[in-house]
Amino acid sequence: MNGAEAILEALAREGVEVIFGVPGGANMPLYDAMYTRPRFKHVLGRHEQGSIHAAEGYAGSSGRTGVVFATSGPGALNLVTGLADALMDSVPLVAITGQVSRAAVGTDAFQEADVTGVTMPVTKHNYLVQDVDEIPRIVKEAFLIASTGRPGPVLIDVPKDVQLEEFSGDFDVQPDLPGYKPTVKGHPRQLEKALAALGRARRPVMMVGGGGHDAADFLRHFAEKSRIPVITTLKGLGVLPGNHSQVLGMPGMHGTVAANRALQHADLILAIGMRFDDRITGNIEKFAPDVETIVHVDIDPAEIGKVVRTAIPIVGDARWVAERLAQTAKPLDISDWWDRIHEWQQRHPLPTPERDRLSSQEVIRAFWEATGGDAFVTTGVGQHQMFAAQFWKPNRPRSFITSGGLGTMGFGLPAAIGVQVAHPDATVINFDGDGSFQMTLQELATLFKYRLPVKTVLLNNGYLGMVRQWQDLFNEKRYAEVHLEDSNPDFAKLADAFGVRGFTVEKREDLVEAVKETLVHPGPVLAEFRVFHEEGVFPMIPAGGSAEDMIIENPREVQQ
């Protein structure tokens, strides 16, 4: 057995079933070992960035650790964006990269890059394997680190000669991580304090983030027993069903009026598995001005107190804490508070302006109505992403997969590949924009190769729309370098060239039929919807503003 075979054996022992990746000179031994003894499903990407986003989609939608292979130098460097994305959004990944042989490391050899150096700030941890017999321990540690505590990406860089060297180590090894012991159990006294504060609160809200998905059953139980209003962050969408009567929607820059007003007036915020990102808080001085008590539950102690002053910190696993909350919850006497919230909800539903052309919002809503929300959704980044976050109401945890912290355009299509691989029988819809889509569209070939029936719903507004919206609002409509329509490809023909069913929809009367066609076609589809060009995402809290500054409807149209 050589080093490459030892890596595959170690992966098999971790229960790995799927590997995303691209071969190259420095990881050929790994691919040779897979060819000789196939035991994993390998999904060949067309670019390493596509492969790592696919691994993120796989991990995000299943909760399992995603695995990605890439070769040295350019191959590994193409993973960097995905690693940073996974670190920001706490996605468990193990990346295994080929490296030039040990003797050539540090000599500017062909396809050499200092990959452990470059990826240090974008991984939870990384390794350079110097000794073939260390492989079992390193792989075991990598999976442990990636999947426990606050999950994140771990990279293992393996020189080619180590992959080829004879292995004489032992697979029955223990991790050796004296400095790594995540705190799972929250402090019982802190929990008591939190419950007492909750009992006293008149205007409480619970705000749940991406850390809440694995605690969803307990959180729902707690919410329903206590009747507390629930806000789900972008990464927390689906922890409770989006159309649940207690869910106020997303907070922050493009959040609902009800969610932002509730935060503005709340006296207690129970924050679970979220990190008070600047897109949520806006101007931190003016965030939640009436709040008396913030209870912050997070497994990462570095997140507590980082942004907001926290009265009751609880370091621990959301599931562990939620289970105790659910056990002890009592109905809160907050009917006045709910009256105010209901009023905000009724007065300010999400704006759906009437357009001559199709609007992104109505397209997303049509898909939601056609599926009943029973689908996995991925998105790119930009206006279409925010519309999807507003109008798609996920039914289940881990069913809305999007790039939150890093905001990586081009995330949607490759992520959808990973979601579909993890859930072969599910409906997977990638809501994408014309700008985002073109950043990773080569992965249409991957859809075709594996006959993955991903439905890409391309909301084509002919612009880098979110930048255009900011230029409209803040730069007096100086539309600098955002115009795409003059040079966009014919998306239907493009899809056709990749063997993917493609068509274009322009008229409202064709919408329902097009949605049906997209969903019933047995293979992959690229459905291009030509939507209103100058749509804006509202409500909007301008960067650095607060809920007081919330722009509820497009000011250009209010003036007219």
Partner: protein
């Protein structure tokens, strides 16, 4: 504010880079850094002196705790001792100057480690303020070279920086 931070780490390649990168990312200039092995096999100890906003330093400490190879971190805000050593090479030309330098050396309890015809080198130990005082005292005679080790620090009393069975970090 000035902070003295001690970090107990696994003795692995790149550990130092991981640690300094957390300061560099936030634009902190590390004033001094001293590293050495401990009595515990495989564990090294680092003392870092850094100037910075208290909240930011607190965040850096939390981030240090998150590093997999970091065993424990302490910010020496409690009573502690700090020591630093320096080698100072100074011009020693006239007889009169030599006598004056000798007086300064004695006052600071420094020791000559190399004596030449035109220059001598002294070893001085103490807290960073004393080192600076010594160098300033010699300035008038012509300081040719200075090498400081950076502060090493330790808490007074019972507080001990050692591995715990349970570490509250991710």
């Amino acid at each position: 504010m000035r902070h003295v931070v001690s970090v107990l780490v696994e003795d692995h390649p790149r550990v130092l880079t991981r640690i300094t990168a957390l300061f560099a990312r936030r634009g902190f200039n590390i004033e001094s850094l001293a590293v050495g092995r401990t009595h515990m096999p495989g564990l090294s100890r680092i003392s870092i002196v850094v100037l910075g906003d208290d909240r930011m330093i607190e965040q850096v400490e939390k981030q240090l705790n998150k590093l997999i190879e970091v065993i424990k971190v302490t910010d020496h805000s409690e009573p502690h001792v700090e020591r630093e050593m320096a080698l100072v090479k100074v011009r020693t030309e006239g007889v009169e100057e030599r006598l004056q330098i000798k007086e300064i050396v004695e006052a600071f309890r420094a020791r000559p480690v190399d004596v030449g015809r035109t220059s001598s080198t002294y070893e001085v130990t103490g807290d960073p303020g004393k080192i600076e005082g010594f160098i300033a005292g010699l300035e008038a005679y012509g300081v040719l070279e200075v090498m400081r080790t950076g502060a090493v620090a330790m808490s007074r009393g019972e507080a001990i920086l050692r591995p715990r069975l349970k570490k509250e970090a991710v």
